[in-house]
């Protein structure tokens, strides 16, 4: 896969003067490329006058940053307490089963802030609350995915 390192350079340049600019830069890289490729690390390190190890440390510390591209869709199922109290574990198991072999990244998330309307999931940028197993199945069936 071709990685657009020019974009990374521009982002690094735009944020290098910002105090604490590495985090906004990493967000910008991920927003632009869908993930933070390893090849971006030395570029960012040089711009921010950090070691590659330091940048690598930041990228890998935070759950939000991906080092590999995600699938065609990202499905996040909340498994924090409020959602657990409303059947989130079963929902996650169902999603795992239904999405097996699909080009979809399925991951747990720890609280989407919809705890009064549990269980909650997020599919790409869209939030869904009070998700029943039937609703989950319908939502996942609508995804365009290569089996």
């Amino acid at each position: 896969m071709q990685i657009d390192l020019g974009t990374v350079r521009n982002i690094a340049e735009a944020h290098r003067q910002t105090p604490g600019g590495l985090m906004p830069a990493l967000h910008a890289v991920q927003d632009a490329l869908g993930h933070v490729p390893d090849a971006a690390v030395p570029i960012l390190a040089e711009s921010f006058n950090l070691s590659r190890a330091e940048v690598h440390g930041v990228v890998t510390y935070y759950h939000h940053f991906r080092r590999e591209p995600a699938g065609r869709h990202v499905v996040q199922v909340c498994r924090a307490e409020a959602c657990q109290a409303c059947g989130a574990e079963a929902l996650l198991a169902n999603a795992e089963k239904q999405l097996q072999g699909c080009d979809v990244t399925l991951e747990p998330v720890y609280c989407l802030g919809l705890c009064a309307s549990s269980p909650a999931i997020q599919i790409d940028d869209k939030l869904h609350a009070r998700v029943t197993p039937q609703r989950l199945q319908a939502l996942l069936s609508q995804l365009e995915v290569a089996q």
């Binding site: 990493l26 930041v58 510390y61 759950h63 307490e81 109290a85 720890y110 705890c115 009064a116």
Partner: protein, 519 residues
């Protein structure tokens, strides 16, 4: 005919159950019928079981309908929605819905009432009154108001906000900062999110006042990445407030500067700990710092920094506007004012309940919450987020007050209340608490980093009945080490849910009644 104003919330929790689709259907159906409507996207009233909650402005007040789905729109219009007519989904006047009418909405008085991003709406509903008063006072006088109001940190630690502010005021530095901790990672909490999505100018006003009080000219709002709507709304609100002169080089023409910036977190729960958050804003891994130095002396970029939770800062405009005594007169003991409690999990009427300290969990669970959503018996209630204790029924009549909760080994925390019915397996939940700590530990201190992993293993051995009495003893010993040896609340409070589960529900760990005393 003049346009009828219809409100359809834009809060995440409304969007997650179809509010956008309702707004679209309403606009399309009204256009088709030639009806003149003005659709306002307001914040949420916090009655989440009724979302999407559509309101119609009538001569008698706003009339509520909910939960409304897009396919209900045509029938609602047929029934006379725009005149506030009766319908199966109708709830009468919004203000008279008992859940709302019984609350004491001080901080949340505008929530769901206004268009969150409308400066005109904010001003028309007592916005900027606190700031206007603060601009006529010196820093020490503002700090005194916050001290006198008895406001304590709403993030969970309940440290008196005024004392923090006084320390920063007294520190001399070329640059001081105000940092708003909006890394609301606790399950069962959403009051910060609602504030940022539903009343962002209130938070901005509170932060400007904090800046004026301590002499800080720059503020950061650290918002979790799981809250994209809050980030978007806050960013737009900051831009508009700056354009209108409430932020910038000369706040309201006073010649005093205060600027604000949103920083996006990246999914690390421990960054809700204030020093880990500072590290993250500085662009580093969110590793907890040892204290001292206190952030108030040496905080962000090594400068004196006020760090407060969203709700702490959002409570400030009202305190300045109405006076410290007004706020202090709510509450009990040393817990002054109100707390936006958040009813979540397996509860029939989940939502936001702002009440003065001193009400009981039982009142919240039944008078407001209406019991469990599943209709089964409520077994355990976790108060104060993932690091809060499970509170059994025998303690549901204890008043919600920081000291009363501390006395029974529990915490009020950020006011999140997660309800579990009798299908909950408390050993599983205790295991989850340790597992969560292992996933989210920053790794700096051993009790948290290693203890959490050992905790999972020990609980597994207890439930598998491998040497159970010894393992229970070991778990208690481990929890003692974590409580007393961890650097921050992550490792230091993970034992709260674990031990409360073990103490109050030993049977779920396979411990029979006779062992109960030992357990």
């Amino acid at each position: 005919m003049s346009a009828v104003t219809v409100y359809v919330p834009c809060d995440s929790a409304a969007l997650a159950v179809g509010a956008d689709e309702v707004a679209e259907a309403l606009a399309a159906e009204c256009a088709r019928r030639g009806l003149n409507v003005d659709i306002v996207r307001n914040g949420s009233r916090g009655l989440f079981w009724l979302e999407p909650l559509v309101e119609v402005a009538t001569a008698n007040g706003r009339v509520a309908y909910g939960p409304v789905q897009a396919e209900d729109v045509a029938a609602l219009l047929d029934a006379g929605l725009l005149a506030g007519a009766n319908h199966a989904l109708g709830h009468g006047l919004t203000e008279q819905i008992p859940y709302l009418a019984r609350q004491e909405r001080l901080t949340f008085s505008r929530m769901g009432v206004t268009d969150p991003l409308s400066l005109a709406d904010y001003e028309a509903h007592d916005g900027w009154v606190g700031l206007t008063r603060a601009l006529q006072m010196d820093g020490a006088a503002i700090v005194q108001q916050v001290l006198d109001a008895g406001l304590r940190g709403r993030g969970g630690a309940a440290f008196p906000a005024g004392i923090k502010w006084r320390t920063v005021l007294g520190a001399s530095a070329a640059q001081k900062y105000i940092v708003c901790n909006a890394d609301e990672g606790d399950s069962g909490t959403f009051s910060d999110r609602m504030t940022m999505e539903g009343d962002p100018y209130m938070l901005i006003e509170g932060m400007v006042i904090a800046g004026l009080a301590v002499g800080a000219t720059k503020g950061f709002i650290y918002i979790r990445s799981e809250y994209p709507h809050a980030i978007a709304t806050m960013t737009t609100a900051i831009r508009r407030a700056t354009a209108a002169g409430f932020l910038g080089d000369s706040v309201c023409g006073s010649g005093r500067a205060f600027e604000l910036e949103v920083r996006k977190a990246a999914g690390a729960y421990v960054c809700g700990e204030e020093t880990a958050m500072l590290e993250s804003i500085e662009g580093k891994r969110g590793i907890v710092r040892a204290k001292p130095p206190l952030p108030a002396i040496e905080g962000l970029f090594g400068q004196p920094t006020v760090i407060n939770n969203v709700i702490s800062l959002a409570s400030v405009p009202l305190i300045l506007a109405r006076g410290a005594a007004f706020y202090r007169d709510y509450g009990m003991g040393r817990s002054r004012g109100t707390l936006p409690f958040q009813l979540a999990g397996n509860i029939k009427h989940g939502g936001l309940v702002e009440k003065a300290f001193g009400l009981t969990l039982r009142e919240l669970l039944f008078d407001f919450g209406g019991g469990s959503r599943s209709g089964r018996t409520i077994k355990a209630v976790q108060v104060g987020g993932p690091l809060g204790a499970y509170v059994p029924e025998s303690q549901w009549d204890v008043p919600l007050d920081y000291e009363a909760y501390a006395a029974m080994g529990a915490v009020v925390g950020h006011g999140g209340i997660v309800v579990h019915d009798d299908t909950a397996d408390m050993a599983k939940l205790a295991r989850y608490a340790m597992e969560f700590c292992a996933i989210e530990s920053c790794g700096k201190c051993t009790p948290c980093r290693i203890g959490s992993t050992r905790g999972v293993e020990v609980i597994d051995r207890i439930t598998a009945n491998q040497n159970r009495p010894q393992q229970v003893h070991l778990l208690r010993d481990l929890c003692d080490t974590m409580v007393n040896g961890s650097l921050c609340a992550m490792g230091g409070m993970t034992p709260y849910p674990v031990l409360s589960a073990l103490n109050h529900y030993p049977e779920d760990f396979g411990i029979a009644a006779p062992d109960r005393q030992a357990a």
